[in-house]
């Protein structure tokens, strides 16, 4: 069989330059900039600076601005095709924040108003509008989210997991990012001038771009560009400042080039991350000089044209790169007049009409989360080595934190017949963490670090993890809440840069990377109640890139004000709980040991056969009965009725008679409780039995059989944990 190639067959874009691909091609040819004064809200006195606002975008739907921007781009990307996408992968950092921050300003306490807060709701909204019944993933790696989403989508298509994937990024302007970046002194009061000698920072912007990726052995009709691959890395250096030598940037570019199977000399154009901050541009320039030396390709940053559209930027710049190969437009480094000699780069200062065969696009973000994509002219045929797929992992260590304590305390409590609901005191969570290094961290990053450290310690591997995959449904809520309340308490004059940096969903994974020296892929998935499953899937899609040990974890914090507003299950559950779980993994390479394998992820909406589809994926009723000794079911309280129907349907279709454990009864209600359940399941597998206190009947002797963990509700997910003797 020929290698499965990945083509971009549709694109949509909305940005400060306007609406639609055609409009953007025109703007890029004319070297226009969309940076200007803000009109969306009135900044506090003395705090007005230029932004990239989408012009004339009047919202018509009752969803946050981020959601509507994403839908506009998605509809354009799909305008040439009638079929729904199999799968959606979206990068976003703000999600429903433009609405949430207004509501918090007014002290609104009606949870219904916050229903679109979660970053996961953007992709879920698209799935609903576009009738996508497959996998829906949300990735939140700050300013590299869009590019990381496209990399994951590329792997979904390459591995044959999906054939038509809609992927991209979206972010809308809001006070959180506007004042947040300003508190870090990263805003250029004159507007972003990337690579310019006089540059003083970035311009915060908004927008969305979406790509339709399709599989093909040869170029399908209408293919705009071929996506050759991508690379991911982590600086593992600092939460908000790039490594001064551009170490992570260089690693991501090298990984991308290798993954794409191209030679450096083939790369004709590089679209830089080029935010316009002193530090980013300098670090990126060093990485570029290290990589290309004297063979420097054409290069430019388009952030003087668009501003920094944050999670959208990687997707917007993928559209720009696709235009470079398909339309022959090499965009200018808009608003740069005198390149900074210290950078030793010669940016394209006026647009060039030249078709580039192979192009590269850089995106770097907070947490040192880096992503780099390689695109090519779809008419060229690149010889590329076949990559192997990692569909299962060996578990070398596990950890959980629950209301009962750490892993041993949790297992003891379960054995004694108690539930582990509740919230562990911060001092207990922090007991093994170095006090000075965590002094700035609030609840969620501490939970994540404690999990990472314990899983690492319990692991029998010599090496720490190189890649980290983190699932969280709502991210660091304490930091977010404190940032916003402090902002409003000072009439939008004062904010906390520490809290802004800490508020990004990927901050805990970035901190874990620093603490464990993990410089491989670092992805944070924010898929609501299915965040841990999404992190596991992301791991299985990208772990082959470097082959080192990896850490997959999920965690959420309980926040007194925000959790009940954001999560209906928390509200209905009435017993505040939080925590999570972490697994140290390595690629399965033969031999015995406990293993984990992701199996299934589908949207239940407009998908009446979803339970049948799950049964089929698991090998049919007979196979399910023979293989699984117990079923752990995640049944979020907010969808309790639907969950019970789905569970009954599954049990009856499979004729399943082994114990079924409704695990949220033991962990409490929170999105990443699945991660805690996974760690607990690993211990059950090790012990070969599940105590009677948990099964509700007698003690369950597994006798070599596996544990199946399924997620129910608005999505249905499944993964298995088993001992391969």
């Amino acid at each position: 069989m020929n290698r499965r190639r990945v083509f971009i067959t549709g694109m949509g874009i909305i940005s400060p330059l306007g609406l639609g691909v055609e409009r953007h091609l025109d703007s890029l040819k004319k070297n226009e900039s969309g940076i200007g004064p803000i009109s969306l809200f009135t900044p506090s006195p003395g705090n007005s600076f230029p932004v990239g606002e989408v012009p004339g975008f009047a919202q018509s739907l009752h969803v946050p601005r981020t959601h509507e921007l994403a839908l506009v781009a998605a509809r354009e990307a799909l305008s040439q095709s009638a079929a729904a996408p199999d799968s959606i992968v979206l990068g976003t950092t703000t999600g429903g924040m433009p609405v949430t921050e207004e509501l918090l300003k007014k002290n609104e306490t009606d949870p219904e108003l916050y229903r679109y807060h979660s970053t996961s709701t953007v992709a879920e909204f698209l799935a609903s509008e576009l009738h996508c019944t497959g996998m829906v993933l949300t990735i939140t790696t700050a300013c590299s989210s869009g590019a990381a989403a496209i990399k994951l989508a590329y792997e979904l298509v390459r591995t044959g997991t999906a054939r038509r994937v809609l992927a991209g990024g979206a972010d809308a302007l809001c006070r959180l990012t506007y004042y947040g970046f300003n508190s870090l002194q990263l805003i250029d009061p004159a507007g972003a001038r990337p690579l310019d000698r006089g540059r003083k920072g970035m311009s915060v912007a908004e927008g969305s771009a979406m790509l339709l990726l399709e599989a093909g052995e040869s170029r399908p009709e209408g293919a705009i560009a071929e996506l050759l691959g991508g690379g991911l890395s982590c600086d593992a250096f600092h939460p908000a400042t790039p490594h001064p030598e551009g170490r992570g940037a260089l690693a991501a570019m090298r990984q991308a080039v290798q993954n794409a199977g191209v030679a450096l000399t083939e790369i004709r154009y590089v679209n830089l991350h080029g935010t316009g901050t002193k530090d980013n541009d300098l670090a990126e320039a060093k990485a570029m000089n290290s990589l290309f030396g004297n063979g420097m390709p054409l290069l430019s940053s388009v952030k003087g044209a668009f501003g920094h559209t944050l999670a959208a930027s990687g997707a917007i710049e993928a559209v720009v790169c696709a235009a470079a190969v398909s339309e022959g437009i090499i965009p200018a480094n808009t608003r740069c007049t005198e390149p900074d000699p210290e950078l030793n780069l010669k940016p394209v200062l006026a647009p060039l009409a030249e078709r580039a065969g192979v192009v590269m696009s850089n995106s770097f973000g907070f947490g040192g989360n880096n992503a780099c994509l390689v695109l090519a002219d779809p008419c060229m045929n690149h010889e590329k080595p076949e990559a192997d797929d990692a569909s299962e992992f060996e578990i070398t260590g596990c950890a959980c934190i629950t209301g009962a304590g750490d892993t041993d305390q949790t297992m003891q409590k379960l054995q004694d017949g108690g539930a582990c609901i509740g919230t562990l005191p911060l001092a207990d969570i922090s007991k093994s963490l170095p006090p000075r290094e965590v002094r700035r961290l609030k609840r969620l990053p501490r939970i994540a670090l404690a999990l990472a450290m314990e899983a690492r310690k319990n692991s029998n591997q010599d090496q720490g993890p190189s890649a980290i995959f983190f699932g969280t449904s709502f991210g660091p809520m304490s930091e977010t809440y404190d940032f916003i309340t402090r902002l409003y308490a000072s009439n939008e004059q004062f904010t906390s840069p520490t809290e802004f940096v800490g508020s990004v969903h990927n901050a805990p994974a970035g901190m874990a990377a620093i603490m464990l020296g993990a410089s491989g892929a670092n992805l944070t998935l924010t898929g609501g109640d299915y965040s841990f499953e999404q992190a596991l899937i992301a791991a299985s899609l990208t772990a082959t890139d470097d082959g080192g040990p990896l850490l997959v974890m999920g965690a959420d914090e309980f926040h007194e004000t925000l959790s009940p507003l954001f999560d209906e299950s928390v509200r209905l559950g009435r017993s505040p709980s939080d925590g999570g779980g972490a697994l140290m993994l390595r690629k399965y390479s033969g031999g015995t040991g406990v293993r984990i394998k992701p199996l299934f992820f589908e949207n239940q909406k407009e998908n009446p056969a979803v339970v049948a589809s799950l049964v089929r994926r698991l090998g049919g009723a007979e196979e399910i009965r023979a293989r699984y000794g117990a079923l752990l079911a995640g049944m979020p309280m907010k969808d309790r009725g639907a969950c019970e129907t789905q569970l009954k349907g599954f049990i009856s279709a499979a004729g399943f008679k082994a114990p079924v454990i409704d695990f949220r009864k033991y962990t409490g209600e929170y999105g990443s409780s699945t991660a805690a359940a996974a760690a607990i399941a690993v211990r059950f597998i090790h012990e070969g039995e599940i105590p009677a206190s948990v099964t509700g009947g007698g003690k369950c002797l597994l006798g070599g059989r596996e544990i199946l963990i399924i997620g129910l509700g608005s999505f249905i997910t499944a993964f298995e944990i088993f001992n391969y003797a």
Binding site: S183, P435, R436, R439, R440
Partner: protein
């Protein structure tokens, strides 16, 4: 001046949650950032906010910040000078 230095020591510890540091641990002539206290660039920005809020003194660029935050004494001198020039 000495009074301001003593006050700043307390405020720095409080603002940055330097839980294991006492005012006596801070020597006003030592390097403030990247030294033994473990203060980094984000901490500096946090202090910039505190100084703006509590003393109405703005330090709005990294270049300026690097000079002012050289030591606690240089910081106190800058606040003292600018506070007198721009009374609240």
């Amino acid at each position: 001046m000495e009074e301001l230095i003593a006050e700043l020591k307390e405020k720095i510890i409080e603002t940055l949650d330097l839980i294991d540091v006492t005012p006596e641990d801070i020597n006003e002539d030592d390097r403030l950032v990247g030294g033994a206290l473990g203060i980094d660039s984000i901490d500096v920005l946090e202090l910039v906010m505190m100084i703006d809020k509590d003393y109405s003194v703005k330090i709005d660029s990294k270049e300026l910040g690097e000079k002012i935050f050289a030591s606690l004494r240089t910081l106190a001198e800058y606040i003292n000078k600018n506070r007198q020039e721009q009374p609240r």
